[in-house]
Point group: C2
Chain length 476, copies 2
């Protein structure tokens, strides 16, 4: 049975896409529904999202963010107020045209994102400098009518948080935009053990209606990029379109400045594709719904179950599951591997006699004999160690899959033959981005914050003077 469980996963080297699909279904994260492109998030998947929510929500609130809830629907006229925004989102909008048995006088868009609703709200509540700033966030689902869909990565409905803030000055908005990007990057590093590259999107890739979009880009095991969180500075574009003005201290009227920032269930796709292996999920300990599974060996023996129960009680500061089902230990081991629980503790009569237990790491398969005395501290330290090791391995993978290209031939060769990101200089023109995408399917991921090296003086595509260093890659 244990054997069978494992064999049902396609090897990631053979077919990465199929490996991914196998994992999301076999680890019971999702199920497909009758509604094309919409997934059912099952308990194991939703528990991940709950832990992500808890951690992020705490971090947001520490920066003074308050949660609200906006309507699910956007009247067509409201969506149309900001020109770039409607152009970006109308093509993939789902429209409600009937309420009960009657046609609506104005059709309603099921929110793909809520900038327009927040603007409409701000217009009512922002009058004076005393009303600023406002730092709002909402946890909700959004809808985008995608043609091709994949669980977590691209679905017609997904769960996310969308933060929306409004400020008196451009500088304050910019400061908030970068601050929230850093919250995402810190969260990925400290909680998900995922290293990311922070940077600015090119105009072609930025959010519809934004002045600047910042992004964190993570690298999946197959070398592809996954945009894992974005933060947008809108300048006063939306405020002008919606007429959001406030009286400043000097009694003059000013336009306000806005930001928005979001992270979605897509990040679960990143967890799978950064950490997973050929036996299943490998969950970062700080987000794992079950951190430790205790598997009693020869559980029919009374002293085994008593000791296993005692162990569970002692580990109460962790998320522990005692698997006392009537399935065989081998099956339970395979389940731990498939579901990615960071630690498994095996305890049987011989262990009890010797005063120890066997601890098995999911990430390395390492088996450790650990004294029962002091097991609480041991498990705590080990979970931290697993987190650090998982981060280090992901960082090494990221670093080892970044290549420099000075010529276009070199660029094309790398994209075709080496999974990963390419660092190359760019002139700043969208024509070169379009050309590169047409030739290689790679897109500009970001103009990095930290990495300002000028690896060449000319654009890798057109040879004209270069303006920016850009990370390029194939992306989900």
């Amino acid at each position: 049975m244990a054997e069978k469980l494992v064999k049902d996963i396609t090897s990631m080297d053979e077919d990465f896409a199929q490996w991914y699909t196998d994992i999301v279904t076999r680890a019971e994260l999702i199920d497909y529904s009758s509604v094309k492109g919409c997934m059912i998030i099952k308990p194991a998947g939703y528990a991940l999202w709950e832990n992500i929510q808890k951690e992020l929500d705490r971090r947001f609130k520490e920066t003074g963010v308050e949660n609200v809830y906006m309507p699910l629907f956007i009247p067509e006229s409201l969506l149309q107020k900001e020109k770039d925004h409607v152009e970006g989102f109308a093509p993939e909008a789902a429209w409600v045209t009937m309420g009960g048995s009657e046609p609506l006088t104005e059709k309603l868009c099921v929110r793909p994102t809520s900038e327009t609703l927040f603007c409409d709200f701000y217009k009512n509540i922002i009058h004076s400098y005393r009303d600023l700033p406002r730092n709002y966030n909402q946890w909700c689902s959004v809808v985008r009518w995608e043609k091709t869909t994949r669980p977590f990565l691209r679905s017609r409905e997904f769960l996310w948080q969308e933060g929306h803030t409004i400020h008196a000055t451009y500088e304050e908005a910019e400061e908030r935009t970068v601050r929230m990007l850093n919250v995402y990057a810190d969260f990925c590093r400290e909680v998900l053990a995922i290293p990311t590259i922070r940077g600015r999107k090119t105009d072609k890739e930025k959010f519809a209606g934004a002045e600047a979009t910042y992004t964190i880009e993570a690298m999946m095991h197959d070398g592809k990029a996954l945009q894992s969180g974005t933060s947008h500075n809108f300048g006063d574009g939306f405020a002008k379109a919606f007429g959001i003005e406030f009286t400043d201290k000097d009694n003059t009227l000013h336009t306000a400045y806005q930001t928005s920032w979001g992270l979605s269930t897509r990040i679960i796709g990143a967890i799978i594709m950064v950490h997973g292996d050929n036996d299943g999920l490998v969950l970062p300990p700080r987000i794992a719904p079950v951190q430790v599974v205790i598997v009693p060996i020869q559980q029919a023996k009374e002293e085994v179950m008593a000791k296993a129960g005692e162990l569970k009680d002692r580990l109460k500061n962790f998320r522990v599951k005692l698997d006392d089902s009537d399935r065989r230990p081998g099956f339970k081991f395979a389940e731990q591997e498939m579901r990615g629980f960071p630690l498994r503790i095996e305890i049987g009569p011989k262990d009890i006699e010797a005063g120890h237990c066997v601890v098995v790491r999911r990430d390395t398969r390492e088996k450790i004999t650990a004294d029962l005395e002091g097991i609480e501290e041991f498990v705590g330290r080990l979970l931290d160690q697993i987190h650090e090791d998982m981060y280090r391995r992901a960082k090494e993978h990221l670093d080892s899959c970044i290549y420099d290209a000075k010529s276009y031939d070199e660029f094309k060769d790398i994209i075709e033959n080496k999974p990963g990101f390419v660092r190359a200089m760019w002139c700043g023109d969208v024509e070169c981005e379009d050309q590169i995408k047409a030739d290689t399917t790679a897109t500009s991921r970001c103009m990095p914050f930290e990495d300002q090296e000028r690896i060449s003086e000319v654009c890798v595509c057109c040879g004209r003077p270069a303006k920016h260093l850009v990370y390029w890659g194939k992306a989900y």
Copy 2:
């Protein structure tokens, strides 16, 4: 300024409906949106919902419930599978008919409730007795195209949780149905300080598709009823309609049994209308986003702010806000009253000198001089006391507004002249319910669990032999 804040609320004795509307907007719980019938839940309102979620979610999980997330949309053909269900919900469904620029081949209903989606899911995952029971819940928003709407009480979109469970036997489903009703009743009593009457709905008032609906009914300050949570036993009706079968231990095929149960943001309406008064909200301490607001008196004095800050630190086990804004104390007092924070602590130079502070209860306005020494325990005890007192007053109000009617004239006289519930016997026929509603606008609220008294042998409406004791009342 303090005066002004208070005067803006209509007195509840003058116009209860207007009082309610004044509270929800002036206490900044909601704002109206451009989308007719959909509300914006502002931070003070959403924080209440977050605390409700946290408490209920914990109680659900203690009974073995797991959270999931189902799609927002229901294909028309799926909604139509259970006859009573579609009849109940189709008339108020919102329909998505366009995805992007293309008409859909099958229109999609924005979920009004998710029984049909869960059934579709169960059909895929339930095969053997080993797959049962499943105890699922989801937190989400649902849409019902109501004609007349009121904040929290009836809106086109609202937030709720919907639990859905599936079992091998009718008895197990019934046990779960009653268990979850009791979770709601306990939550209302222990957390919201709201007494409720538990009972069964008549067939006329039960959920579309349910075999039995159980309800908790609360009494608002104006004597009207608010259905505050419901739990449904579906028997095997849905399972038969969807073909959900499992192989039992004896290797024979059986139909499964289901339940669902829900509580929504409507409960915030109950909190307002059970506890509020003419100066604003009165929040039950265990749900209040701010339990204690500290108002420094003569805050320009350094020692005042130091002591106020120290007090805040010492009360860190409570949800405490230190109001150090530059507004005058009177304004801050009025704000505490409007927003319903259970306790206000005033601390000024004289208090500090005397080693005490002034604690003011929101519910009774009582001012208490309390020693700074031991203030943590004092505040903890006082918050518990406030909870108990609020519950007791609400219970006294409920008990004092229940009247018995043995004749139909008596019944009509009470409904017309006395706010509250009427206890009266009923023959069990829907014709009498219809007649009573037509004559008095009162509806049957429930056939109570605890209260089995037969106050007469005949139906209060038709005079035929009585079957059930029923609580009747006007309702929100």
